[in-house]
C-alpha cells in the first residue's frame, strides 16, 4: 500500500461524527479506500496555483436572489412521505446527545 493519508483512527472519528457504526472489517476497508481516493486526488497538487485566486464558486455569477414573496409549501402528508419514522405530524429521530 502507498503512503497513508488517513489513519484508521481518523476513519473512526469521521464515522463518529456521522453517527455511523462501523465493523472492524469496514474500518479497515474504508481506510484503504479513502487512502486510494486521496492518493488519486493528489494529482491536483501537481498543478501550479501560485498566482491563481481561490475559486469559491465555479459560476461566473454574483447576487442571485429572489423577492421576499411566499410560495405554497408542501402538504404535511407529502412532506412526511419518505420519512422512515414519523409520529403524528413530526419526523421521528433517535436522540443524539
Amino acid at each position: 500500500m502507498k503512503k497513508q493519508h488517513l489513519s484508521k483512527k481518523e476513519v473512526e472519528h469521521v464515522a463518529w461524527l456521522a453517527h455511523i457504526e462501523l465493523s472492524d472489517e469496514e474500518k479497515t476497508l474504508f481506510t484503504e479506500q479513502f487512502n486510494e481516493i486521496l492518493e488519486y486526488f493528489k494529482k491536483i497538487d501537481e498543478t501550479n496555483t501560485q498566482n491563481v485566486e481561490p475559486t469559491y464558486n465555479v459560476l461566473d455569477l454574483t447576487n442571485v436572489s429572489r423577492k421576499d414573496e411566499t410560495k405554497p409549501s408542501l402538504p404535511t402528508k407529502e412532506a412526511l412521505r419518505n420519512a422512515p419514522k414519523k409520529e403524528k405530524k413530526f419526523f421521528k429521530a433517535p436522540r443524539i446527545v
Binding site: W16, L17, A18, H19, P54, Y56, N57, V58, L59, L61, T62, N63, V64, S65, R66, K67, D68, E69, T70, K71, S73, L74, T76, A79, L80, E87, K88, K89, F90, F91, K92, A93, P94, R95, I96, V97
Partner: protein, 501 residues
C-alpha cells in the same frame, strides 16, 4: 449618569475599555441569534416565515427539507436587514460575502449541514468588528462585536422530558431555514447582569430597525461562552430568551466557582441550559471547530455589497434608540432616566409618543407609564403589546383626574383594570362606583362617624396638628379613597374647630 445627548455611538470618551481586569473575574461572550421576523419568507425558500403556533411540518418545501436536488435562492430583503443591523452595531460591511456549509449530523438540520457564513478558510461573513455601548449603573461600557452573519435556523426538536433522557426526538422543520442573524460579541461582559443589559439594548435597536419583533417567543436566543479569569471556557447553549440569560449564566458561574473551590478543574465543553430544571448539563459533544468541515456552499453564488447599496440602506435607517433618547429629553423635556426606560422597549416609547400627541403633558404621561403602568405590567408578567390599554384610554383617565371626577388615588385603581380588560376608564369608574365624592352633604355624615369611632384620636388632633392626618386617613378609608382629598381635609378641620369652641 452621563448625558447620552453628548455621546453619539462613535464617541469613545467616558467609555471603559476592556483592558483593565481584576483577578478572578468572569468573562462572558455571547453568540446571539436573532430571527429576522419581518421577512415574509425563509432565508432560502418561499415558505412562509410565520411558523409560530402552526401545525408541525406544515411550512416546509424541498429546499428547507433538504431534499436532494433542491436549490436554495437567497431572500433579497435579508441582506438589506442584515446590513442595517451591521451599521447599527458599527460593524464593517464586507464588499463581497460568501455562504459556507457547516457540516454536522443532527436531526435539526435535514441536509446534514447548515448554510451559514464563516470568517476563516477564505470565508467572508456579512460584517466584521463593531461595538455596542451599554449603560451599567452609572458606567458606560463598550462591548466589542466580533462579526455579524446570516445563516439559517435549524428545525425545532421536541423531546420527551429532558434532552439527555428522552427516548427519541420529534422534529418539526417549520423553523428550518428561517433567516437568522448571528451576532457574536468579544468576551467583554463581566456579569450575567451586563449580558442581560446588552441583550435588552440590542433588542431595542433591532425593534427600532423594524426587522424584528422581540415579543415573539424564540425570536432572540443565545449561546454564551463563560470562563473565570485564567480558567477554561465553557459554552452554554439553548438560552431561549433574554429573561433566561441571567439565570443560565449565574448558574454556570456558580458551577465553575464551586469546581475551583473544590480544587477540581473546569472542563472545556459544551453544556445545555435546561430551562425547566434550571441547570446546565453536559452535552458530551466531542465536535471541535474543524469537525464542522466548513466549505463554500456551491449552490449559492457570492453576494457583492456595493458602497451605493450600503449608502442606500443608511438613508433608509430609522431613528435608533440613542437618538430617540436624546430627542425625548430635548423635545419632551423628560429626564434622561425616563427617556432611557421608555426607549428600552420600542412598544413603550411608541405608546408614550402616541399618548403625548393626544395630551401635551409629557412628564405627566411619563410618570403614569414609568410608575403604575410598568409596575402593573411587571406584576402580571405582561408586555405592553399584549395588553388592551390604549393611549386614548390613558389620556381619558388623566383628564378625569384633572377635571376632578376621580382622585389620583382612584386613578391608581382604574389603571390596572384598563391594563387587564382594555375597558374605557369612564366605564370602569361607573361600573365600580369610583366617582369622587365632592359634596359636603355626602361627606359630613361620614365625618361624624369617624369622630365618634375614634374619640381618643380626636383628643390628640385637638392638641396636635400632626394627628389630624390620621382622621383624614380614616375618612378616606371609609369612602374607599373616593372622598375629594381637599374637601376631606377641610371638613375634618372645620369639625375640629367647632369642637374647640
Amino acid at each position: 449618569m452621563v448625558n447620552a445627548k453628548h455621546l453619539n455611538s462613535t464617541d469613545k470618551n467616558n467609555v471603559t475599555e476592556m483592558s483593565t481586569k481584576n483577578q478572578n473575574e468572569v468573562r462572558i461572550g455571547l453568540e446571539v441569534h436573532v430571527q429576522l421576523t419581518s421577512l415574509k419568507t425563509k432565508l432560502f425558500c418561499g415558505c412562509s416565515s410565520d411558523y409560530k403556533g402552526k401545525d408541525p411540518n406544515s411550512l416546509v418545501c424541498p429546499v428547507c427539507l433538504g431534499i436532494p436536488g433542491a436549490l436554495p435562492v437567497l431572500n433579497a430583503n435579508s441582506v438589506d436587514y442584515a446590513v442595517m443591523v451591521a451599521l447599527a452595531l458599527n460593524s464593517k460591511v464586507s464588499e463581497c460575502m460568501f455562504f459556507f456549509r457547516k457540516n454536522y449530523y443532527y436531526p435539526d438540520m435535514p441536509k446534514n449541514f447548515q448554510i451559514s457564513q464563516y470568517d476563516q478558510a477564505g470565508g467572508v461573513p456579512l460584517a466584521v468588528g463593531g461595538f455596542l455601548v451599554i449603560d451599567v449603573g452609572t458606567k458606560r461600557k463598550k462591548v466589542r462585536i466580533g462579526r455579524v452573519h446570516l445563516e439559517e435556523d435549524p428545525g425545532r426538536l421536541v423531546h420527551q422530558g429532558a434532552i439527555d433522557t428522552s427516548p427519541y426526538t420529534l422534529v418539526d422543520y417549520n423553523r428550518s431555514g428561517i433567516a437568522l442573524l448571528e451576532i457574536v460579541t468579544e468576551p467583554d461582559l463581566d456579569s450575567p447582569k451586563e449580558a442581560r443589559i446588552f441583550l435588552q439594548k440590542l433588542r431595542s435597536i433591532l425593534e427600532h430597525l423594524g426587522i424584528f419583533a422581540g415579543r415573539l417567543e424564540g425570536s432572540i436566543r443565545c449561546d454564551a461562552n463563560i470562563s473565570l479569569t485564567g480558567g477554561t471556557r465553557v459554552e452554554v447553549k439553548n438560552i431561549s430568551s433574554f429573561k433566561e440569560v441571567e439565570r443560565a449564566l449565574s448558574f454556570e458561574i456558580m458551577r465553575q466557582k464551586n469546581l475551583v473551590k473544590k480544587g477540581l478543574s473546569v472542563k472545556h465543553e459544551t453544556r445545555h441550559w435546561d430551562e425547566s430544571r434550571r441547570v446546565t448539563i453536559s452535552l458530551r459533544m466531542k465536535e471541535k471547530e474543524h469537525d464542522y468541515r466548513y466549505f463554500p456552499e456551491p449552490d449559492l453564488v457570492p453576494i457583492t455589497i456595493t458602497e451605493d447599496f450600503v449608502e442606500n440602506v443608511k438613508e433608509k435607517m430609522p431613528e435608533l434608540p440613542e437618538a430617540r433618547i436624546s430627542r425625548f429629553v430635548d423635545a419632551y423635556g423628560l429626564p434622561q432616566y425616563d427617556a432611557e426606560v421608555l426607549v428600552s422597549d420600542k412598544a413603550l416609547a411608541d405608546f408614550f409618543e402616541c399618548t403625548v400627541k393626544l395630551y401635551d403633558k409629557p412628564k405627566e404621561v411619563s410618570n403614569w407609564m414609568m410608575g403604575d403602568l410598568l409596575r402593573n405590567l411587571n406584576e402580571n408578567n405582561l408586555v405592553l403589546t399584549d395588553c388592551k390599554i390604549t393611549p386614548e384610554h390613558l389620556v381619558e383617565m388623566i383628564k378625569l383626574i384633572e377635571e376632578g371626577v376621580i382622585s389620583g388615588k382612584i386613578g391608581k385603581r382604574v389603571l390596572p383594570e384598563m391594563v387587564l380588560t382594555g375597558k374605557q376608564p369612564s366605564l370602569i369608574i361607573k361600573e365600580k362606583g369610583l366617582v369622587k365624592i365632592s359634596s359636603r352633604d355626602a361627606l359630613e355624615g361620614i365625618v361624624e362617624q369617624v369622630f365618634s369611632e375614634h374619640p381618643s384620636c380626636v383628643e390628640d388632633a385637638l392638641a396636635d396638628e400632626n394627628a389630624v392626618h390620621f382622621l383624614v386617613g380614616q375618612l378616606m378609608r371609609a369612602t374607599k379613597g373616593k372622598a375629594d382629598p381637599q374637601l376631606a381635609n377641610q371638613l375634618i378641620h372645620e369639625k375640629l374647630e367647632s369642637l374647640k369652641k
